[in-house]
Assembly symmetry: C2
Homo-oligomer: 475 residues x 2
């Protein structure tokens, strides 16, 4: 996951217990009672899917396939050979399922090829200490001998704006903004280098964007503004940022050595993967489920976003095994190059703009595949009411909460911005940012039973939305 | 903290609510009502100390001094110059307090000088991946070119005992024992190399001894048995151990490269530090409070055991500032070289054996300085009853729980084994092993208010035990 909605929780309402607008009472005014009854009639199909995935033949399958995949390829950064081989693998894995009436295609996308190379961050004064750090995506490297400079520590862009160029020039600036929430604090990761370069800083360090750490640095994309001098930039562990802050507050002179051999090569060709399970009655209409296949170059991208890819991969596979075919087509998309800036999703949106009226509903899971709780939904009130009715079916697995948000999930935000209704997976991801973009994004974060529940809910919700008599309305 | 009691919880009873033997009713039979009344009369003194430390002039002082100390010196491994300079600093810091009637002495101890040097652990097959690892204390290094070998994965010594020499010879053995509790699982860290070397293994890797990880390896001491071939041994992150286990279970051939330049030099001279606040009536009688000043060579030893040292340092300082003098002497000890095997404590015990009858009670904090909850106590039933009465005074700060254990805390176990009654700090250390012996043992683990409560409780308890009319009885 790269970008998060600015404000994820606008309204929350649980199917069983309306907490906010649109209230159930309002929904019952808006929706045709026959439609409500029609949606409720999917209870049996939903039960069949949930049972098959959580107790039947499919139990543990999502975890096992995800583990095989991330263990085999590990990290899959944009531009890497590994990412391309992992996409080939997913295509073959899907082919091997021999799903009837399935189209599998890949669509080429030009993607960035940033390579971290060797890195080392060392506190030299007031004492020598290794600093746990990770260069940020798209950062330039240092000269081969590295950069050694005095460090100034600032807590915010506001504070930085009051510091004179004279006090910044030639220095390394550490932005030690405390974690508030990802969507707020993340700006220090994405923008610090450009902000500091304007006053002549030679490099920036950023306190890792996380509420919890075991000296774990968190990487992620940063962006140089136009015409700015490109300076190296890296995230350092919360503990080291706080150490430097304390030293700075004591008036000690801080000197750090930064060595980064990061390079940006020519763009490479990668691919979005599209798997279409053809609809029986309105095959041109699409319900999309998705996740992104690329990851950062640390850990094994199990959580970000292997889990999202595999619960979306599971949708046509489960439906095939249960011999279920909805009226509309279900398209699973594995986006490429989400991390460097939603590159795959943007390419898809541009390429398919003329047919976007055919997207009935678009879903993505990119904030963890912990226990599913419901959906984060964007759309008209009527659209949200229909989804709320669908979510009522998941009360038995505690996944019936609807959260409203204009930006439900990273990649699909590119498409819902154009007026397409959609949803992200709402799940019990309280610890998501503990592991996000770290070496700790490994299979240990995933739980087989939670993945089963997520895949079951994802599959059943997509099936029902793709099968009901009405389209999801737009504004 | 190095060694933990085999079974820390034998009996628990809270002063307010007896949970187990000895029950309060039993204590009221055993203790003279006059003594119970006498102990209860310390309420005012206790209040004075708690108020001074948690709300008064001393508020935040323990955290600030601990931060200054660990920020200045960082990790303080046995045998290092840094450890010795940090001991000098503590002596001077105490001198600067100008405590009346205080004796500050250091006693020399020969300590191991193991130096980690450069390390690198790399998975080569089935794919290349960096492995997050840390060599274990006292391990030999590899040849300069490292060791490359096939890996076999075993879960327990039992399982290993069933594997033939033929299948082990020339291989690296990964022991991936799942964390049960530290005192149980720790044996894999301390003994794996010797066990595996007997069957011709060329190195061992051990799953880090922790219930939680963000790809964080945990170091710690290991011990070669006599006459065994010394092979290199390291702990690796839980995530990597589990990755290798999954690959192994799939039948994939695993090859790892280990490069460790660890060396063991001649023993060095270090020092235990003894600070005596002279008793007014029975100065030969000692109540000891303690922690160990050395740490591992990762993180900054804030939790293990900077916190224990500083709440023990605070005892004479607080009493001086409040002009309180108990009848018996309070001795603060900062043990050296705990981590490589309780070296400082063993030297102290040997040197002071003839006067050990004068130790009235011995206390250590070496399992975290989170919110204090009470004491882990060893001693006769009468002794425990007296301590339980003292703990009743700490109900107001929720620190009145008495836990019985034969091994209350690492260093002092050496002394309580000889029949001396003693106690460790019982505190809310649920996450202690998340950070234990990792780069994450930094000031971020510590909380100023919890340290204040700990120091207040530690000081008041030591004062009361050192001042009451009766000695703590022995068997």
């Amino acid at each position: 996951m790269n970008l998060l909605p600015i404000s994820i929780v606008l309204f929350v309402f649980t199917a069983g217990e309306a907490k906010n607008l649109p209230k159930n009472s309002v929904c019952s005014d808006i929706l045709d009672p026959a439609l409500i009854a029609e949606i409720a009639s999917y209870e049996k199909v939903k039960d069949e899917i949930v049972k098959f995935v959580t107790e039947g033949e499919f139990k543990g399958k999502v975890y096992d396939e995800l583990a095989k995949f991330v263990d085999k390829f590990g990290a899959r950064i944009s531009g890497s050979e590994t990412l391309e081989r992992s996409i080939d693998y997913l295509v073959q894995l899907t082919r091997d399922e021999n799903i009837k009436d399935v189209d599998i295609v890949t669509e080429e996308v030009k993607v960035p090829d940033w390579v971290r190379g060797e890195e080392k961050f060392t506190l030299l004064k007031p004492r020598v200490k290794n600093i746990d750090g990770l260069g940020l995506g798209s950062s330039v490297g240092t000269p081969p001998e590295g950069i050694t400079a005095e460090v100034i520590v600032v807590s915010s862009f506001d504070e930085f704006s009051n510091i004179s160029e004279h006090d910044v020039k030639g220095k390394i600036v550490l932005f030690d903004a405390k974690f508030e929430k990802y969507s707020v604090t993340n700006i220090y990761r994405t923008a610090s280098a450009s902000v500091a370069a304007e006053k002549g800083a030679v490099a920036t360090l950023v306190r890792s964007v996380t509420p919890f750490s075991i000296s774990s640095p968190h990487t992620g994309q940063q962006y140089y503004t136009e015409n700015v001098v490109k300076i190296p930039t890296a995230a350092i562990a919360v503990e080291d940022a706080d150490l430097l802050r304390r030293m700075y507050d004591r008036g000690e002179k801080i000197e750090v050595h930064i060595q980064m051999s990061a390079t940006t090569n020519e763009d490479k060709i990668s691919r979005n993967t599209l798997i279409d399970l053809k609809g029986t009655e309105r095959p041109e209409k699409l319900v999309i489920v998705s996740g992104h296949v690329d990851s950062w170059d640390v850990g094994q991208g199990a959580m970000d976003d292997g889990g999202g890819v595999f619960i979306s991969w599971a949708v046509p596979v489960i439906l095939q095994r249960l011999n279920l075919r909805p009226k509309r087509t279900i398209r699973s998309i594995f986006w490429t190059a989400e991390e460097p800036g939603l590159i795959g999703a943007k390419a898809y949106e541009a390429k398919h703009r003329n047919e976007s009226h055919n997207i009935n509903f678009i879903m993505e899971s990119d904030e963890g595949t912990f226990a599913p709780l419901g959906l984060v939904v964007t759309g008209t009130q009527e659209a949200r009411c229909i989804i709320a009715e669908v979510l009522k079916l998941f009360e038995s697995i505690n996944a019936s909460t609807l959260i409203e948000s204009d930006s439900p999930s990273s990649d699909i935000n590119v498409i819902v911005e154009t007026g397409v209704p959609g949803a992200g997976l709402y799940n019990a991801n309280d610890r998501y940012f503990w592991f996000h973009h770290t070496e700790g994004d490994m299979m240990n974060v995933e739980d087989p039973n939670e993945l089963d529940l997520g895949a079951a809910m994802w599959t059943a919700a997509a099936y029902i939305i793709a099968d009901i008599s009405v389209d999801i309305p737009r504004a």
